[in-house]
């Protein structure tokens, strides 16, 4: 148990620090790799939170899918001129204030709330993945199907939107 909580702290810190890295680095590519690290840590946190399936899904979809896509997008939307890819920042004051205020308000709420009931240890199902599978195919069938349709629509939509058209503004 001690080992678990230590791992949790480690990955939690890693997630937050690499997220901060995304925030503070000016190099776009670094930011993306920081984010990969952060998501990787978050996946680990999921695993520690007894949600290994979600953890792996996180790895598969976020790290293996979305972020790779993002890096592709980056490479497609910047001119490859050998320069270091940097992004500028603006609204710095507002962004930081907003983040800090959000963080403080939400943490104030969290620490003032009572989580006793939620923290009571309960017998968890052995085969978590079976629960998820059965639930998805019974209880959550309609959301599942809707999500499928949503994905299809997004797929087609993304293809249509990014299609090259002739009337490109110079």
């Amino acid at each position: 148990m001690n080992w678990t909580i230590n791992m949790f702290y480690f990955f939690g810190l890693l997630a937050v620090i690499s997220a901060l890295g995304v925030l503070f680095t000016r190099n776009v590519l670094y930011a993306t790799f920081f984010l990969i690290l952060s998501f990787f840590s978050v996946a680990s946190i999921y695993v520690l939170g007894n949600a290994s399936f979600i953890g792996v899904t996180q790895l598969l979809i976020y790290v293996g899918g979305i972020l790779i896509l993002m890096i592709f997008g980056l490479m497609l939307t910047t001119k490859l001129s050998g320069k270091v890819l940097v992004t500028e920042s603006h609204n710095k004051r507002m962004g930081v204030i907003l983040g800090v205020v959000f963080f403080s308000v939400l943490s104030f709420i969290i620490f003032s709330a009572n989580f006793e009931v939620l923290n009571k240890s309960v017998e968890m199902p052995k085969k978590m993945i079976e629960v998820i599978g059965v639930d998805l195919m019974s209880k959550y069938l309609i959301p599942f199907e809707i999500a499928a349709i949503l994905l299809l629509i997004a797929l087609i939509g993304a293809a249509v939107i990014s299609e090259k058209r002739k009337e490109i503004k110079e």
Binding site: L29, Y30, F33, I36, S52, F53, V56, T57, L59, L60, V63, G64, G65, L67, I68, I71, F72, M75, L80, G82, V84, K127, M128, I129
Partner: protein
């Protein structure tokens, strides 16, 4: 622990000999000798090469992004080596008894794309960048048929756990905690009522339990060739076009690690393929009446003899798979990039989806 204790040293050894094997096989296919000078039949050629590589200077291009450039081989190797962590080596020796083994494997393997991108971008070379983009596009595209073919197996075996999948193909099926009363039938067709549970051997391998998996195995084989950037899908490192693709700028030890990763990838997909389709660590020999060949050549789980048999069968089957990969490499010409994508999206993926459907139907025959 199997990963560190067994696979790391094994991977190093295997790479050395795989490179040698590759040279020799290519030589045989091209009707020549291959390395012959260093040691008997050139046995030590690869070792000598390795020594040379370690001695070589670690060159980092001036305009490269140093961090990414240096980090990339490690990331690639880590991602692939992570995959070994959940492989069941024997009936009792398994890296991580994860319930989501296959799923994790697919996820973690795709991470090497990150490393490839880092390498390609970090080198700040056009060849590298184009190579890495090609690699990534290829790997992401071929992940789809790989995942779908794996999904076929998952539908047949109703599990994501690699060890459970292994046991299902074993004569020891009833030893596994959740499978005490499970029976295997010939071709998985229950109505035929030919109980092969006690036969073991190749009768209980997945391609025999559900023959629908044979085309799935073919798809898996083709797609994993592309996944590991092997010929005929080695466009990312097409010498004639891109010098050496994303690892053009690497040299010495880092280049060695990249090559190590590539061969590691080959081994990984080979072992996974063996586990999924060809009986995992199980013996191909069935029990024939009183001659319980299967039981003899499997041993009891947990015993040393059992572990040794398991390792033998698993590794030998994987080696055969790797040999097949090499065979293909030296036989077929390289595809064009559009043919590559066509193959994935227009043929393999739809066919794999169809096979998922067929697998579902087959599964209905099994219960």
């Amino acid at each position: 622990m199997s990963t560190l204790v067994f696979f790391l040293p094994f991977l190093l050894m295997y790479t050395v000999f795989a490179v040698y094997a590759e040279r020799k096989i290519s030589a045989f296919i091209q009707d020549r000798y291959g390395p012959m000078e260093v040691g008997k039949y050139g046995w030590y050629q690869t070792v000598a090469d390795l020594l040379k590589l370690i001695q070589k200077e670690d060159i980092i291009p001036k305009n490269a992004n140093k961090t990414l450039f240096m980090l990339a081989p490690i990331v690639i190797f880590t991602a692939i080596f992570c995959g070994f962590a959940i492989l069941p080596l024997t009936s009792s020796w398994v890296g991580s008894l994860s319930q989501n083994g296959v799923y994790f494997l697919i996820a973690i393997v795709s991470l090497d794309v990150v490393g490839i991108l880092m390498a390609g971008w970090g080198a700040n070379s056009k060849y590298s960048l184009l190579g890495s983009l090609r690699a990534v596009a290829q790997i992401i595209s071929y992940e789809i048929p790989v995942t779908l073919s794996v999904l076929c197996v998952v539908m047949i075996s109703q599990s994501l756990s690699l060890q459970e999948i292994s046991y299902q193909q074993s004569v020891l099926i009833n030893v596994f905690p959740d499978l005490e009363s499970t029976k295997n039938f010939l071709f998985g067709i229950k109505t035929m009522a030919i109980d092969v549970t006690a036969w073991g051997g190749f009768f209980t391998w997945n391609i025999f339990r559900a023959p629908v998996l044979i085309p799935v195995a073919v798809i898996y084989f083709i797609s994993t060739l592309a996944e590991s950037n092997r010929a005929p899908f080695d466009l990312p490192e097409a010498e004639s076009e891109l010098v050496a693709g994303f690892h053009t700028e690497y040299s010495g030890f880092r280049w060695a690690i990249i090559m190590l990763s590539e061969y590691g990838m080959m081994l990984l997909v080979a072992i996974l393929g063996v586990i999924l389709f060809f009986g995992s660590w199980n013996t191909p020999l069935p029990n024939i009446g009183n001659i319980t060949l299967a039981n003899w050549t499997t041993g009891q789980p947990g015993t040393i003899i059992g572990n040794l048999w398991s390792i033998l069968w698993l590794i030998s089957k994987a080696m055969l798979w790797v040999m097949a990969q090499m065979w293909v490499r030296w036989t077929y010409p390289r595809l064009r990039i559009d043919q590559l994508m066509n193959l994935s999206w227009k043929y393999l993926t739809p066919f794999a989806i169809f096979l998922i459907f067929m697998s579902g139907l087959w599964r209905l025959l099994m219960i």
